[in-house]
Amino acid sequence: MSFWRDPINFIIEWAKGLLAGIGWGPGWATTVGFVIGAFVLAAGAMFFVVFLIWYERKLIGRLQDRFGPNRLGPWGLFQPIADMLKIFTKELITPSGVDWIAYNLAPVLSVAAVLMMWAVTPFSKTFFGVNISVGILFLIAVGGLGEVGIILAGWGSNNKYALVGALRAVAQLCSYEVPFVISALVPVMLTGSMSLVDIVEAQNPWYILVAPAAALIFFIASVAETGRAPFDLAEAESEIVAGYNVEYSGLKFGMFFVGEFLHAFTASFIFVTVFLGGWRGPGADQIPVLGLVYFMIKTFIVYFALILFRGTNPRFRIDQMMDLNWKVLTPLSLVVIMVIALVDRLFASSADWLRTVILLAANLVILVVAERLIRRGVKTTGLEVGSRERPVASPDNLFIQPGSGAKG
């Protein structure tokens, strides 16, 4: 095994040889390897968040005609590090009347629940934590632990805004789990396995081309699961100050913050794994490290879409959010899964490309019909606000520091 083809496994094998050299049995070496691997993965995820925060702030800035962070380092790249240092040195305030265990356990749980999702995702052909046979189920179950963390935060911090925020968050997460699970069943059904490794291996072509309707529902539901705009009712600043994390300060608040960013990123790579072919791409079978590159590129494209979704949509009201779930997404996902099961079974004996085309056509028909039905139910009277032409910061100065000669 050459180093450049598969560096991660190369290092793992080398470390195993080292441990065997000092007389450790293979059982102990594997255990220690898992512990070290988990530590490295978790620490890597945490450091990754620093970059994600910069990426998101920069993009949101561009979407809102601002520059975003641009003072510290090239393109403001070191701004999150400064923020991190600030949050480390802040005082940890524990309000009176809190439930000590619940209050302190909640931030840990909300980050741990997200990090556990990293354990089962295949990042490349040879690089994954574990390949359990019920991977997708594991992802959903772990999401439930995140709900427990939120409810602990809301109840433990002895504040009515926190409690209202937690109730909203949990109502939202519980409801959106329904279309999430049902649309996640579509790839499971097409693959015949719940293991994420198998699902990635079976994607030929990508499932977004086979079942775009399921992919759309999955995407919307996973945005709702992350609790970001437009689904950020749980932390709506203008309604319930900051939701379930209002009583937290310093590093404990930072944990929630990191948990939210990491959840958004995790949601996008789960979408990539389930619908966009994971690490698959030209040459990724032979050179596993190339798979990791493809995986990251796809993940950042989906993450970009997620930020675009966040930056361009206003927040839902709570009844609109529930309506969207129970009156649109859930029935639609039920229809999609039934139609796909039926079509897949009817054309089981025909050629693969034919079945794919028919599945795609069926999905598109479902989407068009659903769109027509929804349009009929919603009265849209256009109301034009503002003028059409407005001054926009020209995109050619995206990476130019202000004051260095750029036209604002």
Partner: protein, 173 residues
Amino acid sequence: MSGLQIVFLIVAVVTLFSGVMVVASRKMMHSALWLILTLLGVAILFATLQAGFFAIVQVLVYIGAISILIIFTLMLTRRAMDDEHPQVIKGWWLPAVMAVILFGLIAGFLATWKDFQVMLNELPADAENLAAFGSALVNPAGYVIPFEVASVLLLAALVGAIYIAAERKEKVG
């Protein structure tokens, strides 16, 4: 004593302790949080039995859904959360004695069984055959009738729960 046995003992002690705290703690909310710990312990016990699927379903159904529902109900029934009154009945020692006696009876009865001390060895990796389990659930020669009855039960529970708990617009007695 092997590593797995130590893991079992720790998990079992934590599970039983938090089980006791579920029935003994005064604050209802604490009792619900201990319940979550108990359910997690039971999930780990399932995993030590090499029933990984059911361990994950346990986390999904019990922790992700049932305990959340219970916490919601605790918040909606406000008086449940006050802890001024004792949470157990006056003669609580009688059920305690009964439970201990029942435990002694069960343990003593089980101890007479010849396979009581048999060791559970590690199963082959495909012992938990989910494909066979799944097809047995929809096989007419297998368990399709219990499966269908269960789905009707779930539907009835769904409709019934909404009907019972929904606030009526007309006058209620």
